[in-house]
Symmetry: C2
Subunit: 220 residues, 2 copies
């Protein structure tokens, strides 16, 4: 068992980039993987590659177009207008059913092949937008399922699970990558790097967290 090596599920966004540097602090051997799954903004994978290169982390891309063919949603289908807020009785239409299930399952097989026992994901229950596959209970259940499926003891780490976006900015700052995360990552649903378009749900959440963190920092 290699406790020193880890695979990061990495999209080049604020959360997973912060997780990448968290992992580099805690593990000796770190790899990162991104997914091409038919998302509208495929350039996030190029952004991920550049950040991984800068961090000297081996980087692989998994191509899994079946995810977008399985169901209709606003992240992979350009003809659907994105929900700006979570509808009262339903999941937001930006939910891609099974996305984290597939990302983490593929990460586990990849980890097995590369001799890594640790898997890191940036999911958070705090700002989870109603996505069931960002919740802690799902991650814990999946961890058991993956260990049974592959007869191997993996540990899934979720450093952001109980943090809000302001806490995540604080973590990036503590890790010395505040500026990198602020200017080089892509979180925006409209595909604009750094501070983004400013008005999509992802930008609003990121901006609110940033303002809270900066206020908190300046009043210390």
């Amino acid at each position: 068992m290699n406790k020193d090596s880890a695979v990061v599920v990495f999209s080049g966004g604020q959360d997973s980039t912060t997780c990448l540097f968290w992992t580099l602090k805690h593990f000796r051997h770190v790899r990162a993987i991104s997914f091409l799954y038919g998302q509208k903004h495929q350039k996030e994978v190029e952004i991920a590659r550049k950040i991984a290169e800068k961090a000297s982390v081996p980087f692989d891309i998994m191509t899994i177009p079946f995810i977008s063919s399985l169901s209709k949603n606003a992240l992979t289908d350009s003809t659907i207008t994105m929900d700006q807020e979570k509808p009262q009785d339903n999941l937001p239409n930006t939910f891609v059913p099974g996305r984290n299930l597939f990302f983490l399952s593929i990460a586990a097989v990849y980890a097995l092949e590369h001799g890594c026992d640790n898997i890191i994901t940036g999911v958070s229950q705090t700002d989870f937008s109603g996505y069931p596959d960002c919740r802690d209970s799902f991650i814990r259940s999946l961890n058991v399922t993956l260990n049974l499926a592959l007869e191997h003891q993996f540990v899934i780490h979720t450093p952001l699970m109980w943090l809000d976006k302001a806490d995540t900015w604080a973590m990036a700052d503590q890790l010395g990558v505040f500026d990198l995360v602020r200017t080089e990552t892509l979180t925006c649903y409209n595909g604009i790097r750094g501070d983004g378009c400013g008005h999509c749900p992802a930008c609003k959440l990121r901006k609110k967290g940033l303002e809270e963190y900066l206020k908190r920092k300046n009043t210390k």
Copy 2:
């Protein structure tokens, strides 16, 4: 919740064909899906399609080549000679890591999209050849994981879990499809339909079960 509708994970082999007819007996609306995952014997999918047509069951094919790119194994890589028996200290090299995990996860998203709450798979712990993802504990854990991931209550049914191959032949006979299963399904690792090549591990297991069942039947 639609307790009447079910999706069968269907490969056109003995086990999943028996499960298809079991499902037709127990559920009103039945669909079947097969997977193209880079297996050497892609014609199993054509065989599955023919059986589904004969049974008047809607049939879909999912193309997921990433499974064969994730790891080296004898079912997807022609340069590897198949293990004839389970090695003492290791899994047989016919194990495709995560295969049932991916098949059942995709089946769940497919079921969600088609309004089906039941998923049927022909895995069996009795003759499991050392594959961890055929065990009952894995299936139960996965069922919980899928329900959490998709926020929906699915039930995974495994009619063959505790049956050996002779019992499975008995079930096909009770369902009135003994001849169909014997002549039209493909279980053989060398891609020969019906009784197969006779000497690969899958054929040996199938043949042993058939002989046991016929003996049992004739001594009644």
